[in-house]
């Protein structure tokens, strides 16, 4: 602790600012984020975030892997939006390969991305609610998230990181009973979301903890490149799904919720409204997806053959062996395909040198930029609000540090 002593001009009283260290192991910092705060009484005078505690060098590791081996790695970057990450990566690689994926796969990807958005927002709502004192919200949110994890388990046998997205399509076809499981979730969740709102939206304590807290202006949102829910809560009407449509989002009927206050409460409102819009998109996508059909492109260079052919045909066995031992080559070039992840614009800048391994991949990390703007939001506020603000910007440290 370092202190600087000054004497108050009017009263002549001796006042001090105090430097305190918050984190990196603070339970409310969503991972390992360290903040060095200078306090004047209870008011934060300056803040400097220190990151890098979760840096695992995924981008360097990916350069040693074959293209399809990178998918599980990128899912672990932003661990709350695994399917969005792998989808963004696959779409960049598909752009380099110049392949067009089938209509049905596009619809399934839309459905997965929207379910992932609900999943991520549920974790955010639960932890943010808990941090400002509404512990019951956390229990309810994780109850509903469990159903989404069950759906993941159903499609891929893995709950958090399904690796279901593959370059050229999906890992396999949808399992039996998938439509019923998703419909059951959507029917139940529509009611449950109203219940969460009953608990928070007009809750006097919650309003006092979030309204006018962590305000960020429209100008600051632009200069700090916060493209996502934080920007929409401050009045920037930007959603990649609307402005640069991909996967046929222009054919879906949905709204882009925006608010103008730019405080923690506006961010709460935007995210809850987004969950409702995601449900709308999920229902539309589900109606378009046939229970059985194509799940990948017909390109023997990229997609492995179905297992029954591997066991009975020699060509299919050779093809299977080639894809799993040597991978596929990607033409030289670079591509960046932006998608709207749960935390904002997300995408992979992918560079290929024409071999079966990526030359360089770089993830656009929305959490990194949110973390950079954190200082702007907490300076001048109370120390008790710091946690509410960190919760409201929804940073995932795995995405910040990669």
């Amino acid at each position: 602790m370092a202190e600087t002593t000054t004497r108050d001009q009017e009263s002549g009283l001796r006042t001090e600012t105090m430097t305190v260290n918050m984190g990196p192991q603070h339970p409310s910092t969503h991972g390992v984020l360290r903040l060095v705060l200078t306090l004047d009484g209870e008011v934060v005078r300056s803040a400097s975030p220190t990151i890098g505690y979760l840096h695992t060098g995924i981008e360097k590791t990916a350069e040693q892997k074959k293209w399809q081996q990178v998918i599980p790695l990128v899912e672990r970057m932003d661990y709350l939006s695994a399917q969005s990450n792998s989808m963004a990566f696959c779409m960049s690689v598909e752009k380099l390969l110049g392949v067009e994926i089938p209509e049905r796969v596009r619809n399934i990807r839309v459905l997965m991305a929207e379910l992932q958005r609900i999943n991520s927002h549920l974790v955010w709502l639960g932890t943010h609610g808990m941090e400002v004192g509404a512990v019951s919200v956390m229990l309810y949110c994780f109850r509903e998230r469990e159903l989404l994890l069950n759906i993941n388990e159903m499609i891929a046998g893995f709950r958090l990181f399904p690796s279901y997205m593959r370059v050229g399509g999906l890992r396999e076809d949808l399992p039996r009973g998938f439509h019923d499981a998703v419909r059951a979730f959507l029917d139940r969740f529509a009611v449950k979301l109203d219940e969460y709102e009953d608990l928070l939206t007009k809750n006097e304590i919650y309003l006092k903890r979030t309204q006018g807290v962590g305000v960020i202006s429209k100008e600051d949102v632009v200069s700090y490149s916060l493209l996502g829910p934080i920007a929409r809560a401050a009045g920037v009407d930007y959603d990649v799904r609307r402005v640069f449509p991909y996967l046929g989002y222009e054919t879906y009927d949905f709204n882009v919720p925006t608010r103008t206050a730019g405080d923690a409460y506006a961010r709460y409102q935007v995210r809850v409204a987004e969950m409702r819009e995601s449900m709308k998109i999920c229902r539309q996508a589900l109606d378009r997806i046939t229970p059985a059909g194509k799940w990948a492109i017909d390109d023997p260079r990229i997609t492995p053959p179905p297992k029954d052919r591997v066991y009975t045909e020699m060509e299919a066995l050779i093809q299977h062996f080639l894809i799993y031992s040597q991978g596929f080559t990607v033409p030289a070039g670079e591509a960046y395909v932006p998608v709207e992840g749960p935390r904002g614009e997300q995408g992979f800048f992918v560079v290929s040198d024409g071999t079966n391994r990526p030359w360089r991949i770089k993830s656009r990390a929305p959490s990194l930029l949110a973390c950079q703007a954190l200082e702007r939001m907490i300076v001048g506020g109370l120390i008790a609000d710091v946690i509410a603000v960190i919760g409201s910007i929804d940073v995932v440290m795995g995405d910040v540090d990669r």
Partner: protein, 182 residues
């Protein structure tokens, strides 16, 4: 606005700058800009009424070692007003890897440039806070360079409580700030 029109506009607005079209598979307009004119071009891109690239969505670098010029610094820009995306690239030689910071134009570049310095060792002249971002402060080398080894053995690192006075601490921070390597 398509590529040739943008290049013509930039060359007119910034006399002396070299702006060339770059190949692009994903159909985002891509241009190469000469190192000395990055700041001027960036200012035009942000402020020109028919461009308004207000968002710096991404700033990163690519190392094409052993070829020269070795580094490419990549700026991904977004203009919401005109629904445009642009990739601006700057080529840098390995022996002379430094260019002007754009953090005065897009404040978001602050941490993104720190990350590029941290992982590639590219110096951003005039950066307000030039420290490592992700790697430990005492790390030697720049891990994302292609000639940086993938697996290395380092002696076990034992951390002890820092035994320095406040003045020494400040002096250490000052010493560790990035310095242009001759």
């Amino acid at each position: 606005m398509d590529g040739p029109a943008l290049i013509a506009l930039l060359q007119q607005a910034v006399p002396g700058a070299t702006v060339e079209s770059a190949p692009s598979i994903d159909l985002h307009t891509s241009v190469y800009v000469s190192r000395d004119h990055v700041l001027d071009v960036a200012r035009v891109l942000r402020d020109a009424a028919n461009l308004r690239f207000a968002f710096l969505a991404e700033l990163t670098a690519v190392d094409v070692w052993p070829r020269e010029p070795r580094y490419e610094v990549v700026y991904v820009l977004v203009s919401i007003e005109h629904r445009l995306r642009l990739r601006m690239k700057v080529r840098l030689h390995g022996a002379d890897a430094h260019l002007a910071t754009v953090s005065g134009i897009w404040p978001a570049a602050n941490w993104l440039e720190r990350e590029v310095w941290d992982l590639f060792g590219i110096v951003f002249d005039g950066h307000p806070d030039p420290r490592r971002l992700l790697m430990p402060e005492d790390w030697e080398g720049f891990p994302l360079r292609k000639d940086s080894p993938v697996q290395i053995r380092r002696p076990p690192h034992v951390a002890e409580a820092l035994q320095v006075t406040e003045e020494e601490f400040a002096a250490n921070v000052e010493r560790d700030r990035l310095t242009r390597r001759g």
